[in-house]
Amino acid sequence: MRLAAAAILVLAVAGCADAPGPRIPVGPELFAVIPGPTGHVGSIVVRSGGDEKVLDQAYSASRVKADGSTEAARLSPDEVARSFGGTIQALPGRPASFLLYFREGKDELTPVSRVELEKVFAELKRRPAPDIVVIGHTDTVGNLAFNDRLSLARAERLREMMVELGIPPERIQAAGRGKRELLVQTDDNVSEPRNRRVEISVR
């Protein structure tokens, strides 16, 4: 009986270590939530052994110590800057989003959207090795599959226009979100021009 329990324990310990070979001592680990540029604070869940910590306050942290135990901690903004400043600085620029509209029933952009397209090109110049995703959106007229196809077709049309304007084809992708991400919330089967848009994400 005791033997069986011991065997299970050994197996469980062996199962914990992913890598084969001798057990390597654990290095200390640190996890922390930091506020975004707009002050938004999200949350992360850290699971270590049988322990689970939810971190959902700005600068709340969890440390895993060399003996494998965990402790809750709170970092100061200074500590984060000192330890992670260079790493955070290496984060790529946040993607920028632009909304474009086609003229009703026409294959050309509205005058306002043509101005917006110039902003897209200005944004491209500000970024190292930029790439683009053109994302089509529809209103709620028609079923899901139809709108997925339609939104992709609209995105692909704008992608072609941008390739003609000189964007290398390998740096621009098209995606269709159909009616899954409405700009203006409506019931199903509602014609809403503001929802029939194409989003250009520059990153």
């Binding site: 390597i24 001592p25 654990v26 290095g27 200390p28 680990e29 640190l30 996890f31 922390a32 939530v33 930091i34 506020p35 975004g36 938004h40 999200g42 949350s43 992360i44 869940v45 850290v46 699971r47 270590s48 052994g49 959902d56 895993v64 060399a66 494998g68 984060v80 330890s83 992670f84 260079g86 790493t87 955070i88 600085q89 290496a90 984060l91 790529p92 946040r94 993607p95 970024r127 190292p128 090795a129 790439d131 995703v133 994302i135 196809r149 339609l150 992709l152 077709a153 692909e156 049309r157 390998e170 992708q173 098209a174 995606a175 269709g176 979100r177 159909g178 899954r180 994400s201 990153r203």
Partner: protein, 151 residues
């Protein structure tokens, strides 16, 4: 008429050139290498990233990657970060992102898949698994005292 147009477009889109690319290196400072299929090459800005790639930085290195769902991940000096799993559906935003920080420092901003499905992005360390509900976080894995050289 409209349907014909859609079919024609769908056909022209049938062979995307970037099928295996899941992101791009946007920042590379100092010594940064990408290990792919057992070979290490210097990372350059604009270089595509694929599943199973491992980012390795030297003492003066740091690197930043933008993934296709807009997740942003950067690593600091003396770091090893492996992209174990990545998939993302640009229509539904359903996806899965699993990476391992074997050592060093990481900062990240979660993207569209976590917004769609909280905890669909996970970062593993030698002793923990971190699931991301959003949005920005940092992780550090120090080398164990008197440990054999980490890979």
């Amino acid at each position: 008429m409209r349907n014909t147009w859609i079919v024609a477009i769908a056909l022209s889109f049938a062979a995307p050139a970037l099928a295996n690319d899941i992101g791009q290196v946007k920042v590379a400072k100092g010594a940064v290498q990408v290990e792919r299929a057992g070979k290490r090459v210097a990372a350059t800005v604009g270089m595509p990233v694929r599943t199973s790639d491992v980012l390795v930085t030297g003492a003066d290195g740091s690197a930043g990657v933008t993934f296709s769902d807009n997740s942003l991940v950067s690593v600091g000096p003396n770091s090893v970060f492996a992209i174990d799993k990545y998939r993302f559906d640009s229509t539904t935003h359903v996806g899965e992102f699993e990476g391992s920080l074997r050592k060093g420092k990481l900062a990240a901003v979660s993207g569209k898949m976590v917004k769609q499905t909280p905890e669909s992005m996970k970062i593993r360390t030698p002793s923990s698994v971190m699931a991301v509900r959003g949005t920005e976080f940092v992780v550090e894995v120090k080398e164990p005292a008197a440990a054999p050289a980490a890979r």
